[in-house]
């Protein structure tokens, strides 16, 4: 058995240290070791986006990242998105637009949308649809999700710039 590694990463702003077998994916570490079950396993091969989190500001499918690769990175998961007791504008927009039905794709969608809007704060519908194609939803037909992301972009644009992450 390959020996376990000690991995250190900043997760939702807090430095975390965890033991990790090389064969464990980052998704398994987040869900089983760190109890951050917001990232979901939908396809196990990078096609559905349900396991999306941000690593160093960029959206990745954690089912296709090894836990050991996370050493030294800055990770943001759905659990760290909402400020205090409120919600992030993207989360609010998903609720306000009824952009979820079963909700299993929602955490991944919201994190992907965040990464996308951080980079492209004022997207067209076409740009949203192109960027979000790696996140599958089987319930909504995407209409309300796209509208929610459009609304979130507008809301974020109305916020002071300090609230927005710099473009990577």
């Amino acid at each position: 058995m390959a020996k376990k590694r000690i991995v250190t990463a900043t997760i939702n702003g807090r430095e975390e240290e965890f033991l990790c077998q090389p064969r464990q994916t980052l998704l398994e570490i987040l869900r089983d070791t760190l109890s951050l079950t917001g990232a979901k396993e939908g396809c196990s091969n990078g096609n559905c986006g349900a396991c999306t989190v941000l690593v160093d500001g960029r959206a990745v499918n954690t089912c296709m990242v090894l836990g050991v690769e996370a050493d030294g990175t800055d990770i943001e998961t759905i659990e760290g998105l909402a400020p205090g007791d409120g919600l992030d504008p993207i989360q609010e927009a998903f609720l306000g637009n009824a952009a979820l039905q079963c909700g299993i794709c929602t955490p991944g969608y919201i994190m992907a949308a965040k990464a996308f809007l951080d980079e492209n704060p004022n997207p067209t519908e076409e740009e949203i649809r192109f960027a979000m194609a790696g996140n599958l939803c089987r319930c909504t037909g995407y209409d309300k999700i796209v509208r929610a992301i459009q609304e979130a972009a507008e809301k974020r644009a109305g916020q002071p710039a300090s609230c927005q992450k710099e473009t990577v």
Binding site: P22, G49, V55, A59, L66, A115
Partner: protein
């Protein structure tokens, strides 16, 4: 997943040492978007995974008078956003922008896509069109080969035990040149190419005649390949529908398509011609600026 060990060397020499020592059961890791899935499903076995992303040579990305140097582990998002690549090597930008979704592009590399040697790899036809040279390092030193010779069959390549791709080198682009990669997929994103065509063209000063062209085809044979006849047919010819249709027909003549879950033989045959014409036209448009 089956048990394996993991190392992340910071030098080429260490990486080659690790890969050589473990006698072929070691696998190099760049973005992992193929490897991790293949190890999970048991399609590929590994006792050791060697992460190459901490090696500076594999993360090089430079465009200058000598051409383009593209480190093998550079993720797609850095490629398609790069102004020098967008301007001079747009076929590579086209490929990198459509390999998987955003999450895949943040990890996957062109070097990995090539090394995986899939018949339908999206970047390889673009590399062929742009005359890439593959720089390979291994236990017996460094060698360079034209990208057309890299893949040898489905999932097969020329890499010997312990060898890795370090970078891809591209010659500088002449004036009045343009390139494009496009694939046919059933959906609008997230699919594997059913037919993939990369083309680069060089026009004369008037923009009305082809000086030369290179067409790379994917998903229509056991490996991506340089469509020599289709490319040469364009050289010295005027830019018009008739010439371009001839190239399309020549491309169709050299493919060996199969029927599978992505498309039929009939479909691949027909669409190879259609797509070749469309891609050459777009490359011409870019060459004309």
């Amino acid at each position: 997943m089956r048990d394996f060990d993991y190392e992340a060397p910071t030098s080429l020499a260490d990486a080659v040492g690790l890969l050589t020592k473990s006698n072929g059961t070691a696998r190099p890791l760049a973005g992992g978007t193929d490897l991790i899935d293949h190890v999970r499903t048991g399609r590929v076995s590994a006792d050791l995974i060697v992460d190459l992303k901490k090696i500076p040579e594999l993360m090089v990305l430079e465009v200058n008078d000598e051409g383009l140097r593209l480190g093998a582990a550079v993720p797609c998002y850095q490629i398609y956003e790069h102004p020098g690549i967008l301007e001079h090597y747009s076929a590579i930008s086209d490929s990198s922008n459509i390999i998987g979704g955003m999450q895949i592009q943040n990890r996957a590399s062109v070097g990995g896509n090539l090394a995986n040697a899939g018949a339908a790899a999206d970047s390889t036809p673009a590399l062929i069109a742009l005359s890439a040279t593959v720089v390979i390092t291994g236990p017996s030193g460094t060698r360079e080969i034209p990208v057309d010779e890299f893949c040898t069959g489905p999932g097969q390549n020329v890499l010997e035990s312990g060898e890795i791709i370090v970078e891809l080198r591209f010659p500088p682009r002449p004036a009045h040149s343009g390139s494009h990669y496009r694939r046919f997929i059933p959906r609008n994103e997230m699919d594997i190419a059913v037919v993939g065509v990369g083309a680069s063209v060089v026009l004369d000063e008037s923009g009305e005649n082809f000086v030369s062209a290179r067409i790379g085809l994917g998903a229509v044979a056991a490996k991506p390949f340089y469509a020599q006849e289709a490319s040469e047919i364009l050289a010295g010819q005027p830019v018009n529908d008739e010439t371009i249709q001839k190239a399309g027909a020549a491309a169709r003549a050299v493919i060996h398509p199969i029927t599978d879950m992505r498309g039929t033989e009939e479909f691949r045959n027909h669409v190879t011609g259609v797509l070749t014409e469309r891609v050459v036209k777009k490359a011409v448009e870019r060459a004309r600026g």
